[in-house]
Symmetry: C2
Subunit: 247 residues, 2 copies
DNA sequence: AAATATTTGTCCGTATGTATT
DNA sequence: TAATACATACGGACAAATATT
């Protein structure tokens, strides 16, 4: 009777084996395990290493191919699609396209929607308004070289920034949209970074696979007089972006 | 014929429905959806909201009770175990215990191990050494009020900081350990933040559940003369910590 | 140039876990 | 509790593309 190889994978975690293995392969890639532009071991070898059937490994590889992490070629092997993470600077003067200028040819932002609503306590506090004050909620998305980088929800004082969404849509730039409202310059006052699993909205906006991670940055921008002009929650695709804190 | 409620849950993701729902409830708690010390809606209401059977919701709740996120009381309801996220400051002068002083009574660091190794290109570049130069690799872990907060791998120039691990273990503080090596003050030169799934080492050190997320901060500390003295990779439990960037 | 080995791609069937009714 | 449907995982066999000898 053949003794079955000890499986290091848990079967009762509610996470399918192929997904656990995909995560481990992704981590191995991030750790540089397979070298520069590296090639994965054959499916049979991976199956043995993880103590699972070859088909299960194939499921993991298929998911990573779908994600764009791997590329499989019949008869040749499976290869790592090397794609360096964009480094998104967080500084006192943080502007989307300037920060990524050297890292991507094509940077652009899109307006997804604009609605008018009443400020909840969190938004009101960040913008220095009374709770319930009218604010504009603006949904945007940005991409670099055709790959979604981030999606954001921003709140503006509706009294001061009427038509901000329209201005962003026409100029394609928050900086230029501010100019139209008499804000010549602005600064990042504070940034808080956390991370969580992408929700359904993030998955759609950023074209992510289920289970993906987003970096969440809560930020307050202020004008030259120090008055808050924008509160935003930006979700970055964690496998495509890192945040560089400049000090 | 009854029309079935549109399910927002995907069945082909490799993540069991009960786990997806557990993740969404966890997110809802983080977003403050159920209020202060809040009570969850009845299982039947949750089942309807998520478009699944009550049995499935029960599976999700059972997992969250196991995690310590929820507390279920027969006949009364299911309640959120209150735990606020620690806000970990990242600034030019970043020190572990000072930053958390107001947020946790009991802050402590532990030395997990120290080894001597040759610097790889990444470590060498960060510390301004030649690749292959001898460095100390120190593994540490920190907790606040008995809950693991972060674990870190740090590298020091072995020539300048011999016995650094021992000094950290005895003093329980990196700052004090530096003093023993003639470094009276130091600064954070750069910090890069990313996020990924916790690997097996992180899971053990931080007592996390499989699939958990860690915030990864790569940092370089320099002495008053601007010479690099430490390169570190710190993994924070993303569901317990947020990083506050001070500017 | 030809034969062989290696590696990915596809098909079959079966057993078990998950979710609904 | 039981019946049903689907997704997951395993095992084997073979085809197709590529690499090696």
């Amino acid at each position: 009777m053949a003794v079955k190889a000890a499986t290091t994978m848990d079967r009762r975690t509610g996470v399918a084996l192929w997904r656990q293995i995909a995560d481990r392969i992704r981590q191995g890639i991030a750790a540089g395990e397979f070298g520069e532009g590296g090639r994965l071991p054959p499916e049979t070898a991976l199956a043995e290493r993880f103590g699972v059937n070859r088909h299960t490994v194939r499921g993991a590889i298929a998911a990573l191919v779908q994600e764009g992490v791997l590329r499989a070629e019949q008869g040749r092997g499976t290869f790592v699609e090397r794609r360096k993470r964009l480094s998104y600077p967080i500084a006192r003067r943080t502007r989307f396209s300037e920060g990524l200028r050297d890292q991507a040819q094509d940077r652009r932002g899109h307006l997804l929607g604009e609605t008018r609503e009443d400020a909840d306590t969190r938004v009101a506090e960040a913008l220095g308004l009374q709770p319930g004050a009218p604010v504009l909620r603006v949904e945007t998305m940005s991409e670099a070289d055709g790959r979604p980088v981030s999606c954001a929800t921003s709140w503006f004082d509706a009294a001061r920034f009427a038509g901000m969404g329209e201005a962003i849509a026409e100029t394609g730039s928050v900086t230029l949209a501010y100019r139209r409202h008499g804000v010549e310059d602005y600064f990042r006052q504070s940034t808080t970074v956390s991370a969580r699993h992408a929700d359904v909205g993030d998955l759609a906006a950023l074209k992510l696979a289920p289970g993906a991670i987003v970096l969440v940055a809560l930020a307050v921008n202020v004008d030259v007089e120090g008055r808050p002009i924008q509160f935003s929650e930006t979700r970055f695709a964690a496998d495509r972006v890192e945040l560089a804190v400049a000090e």
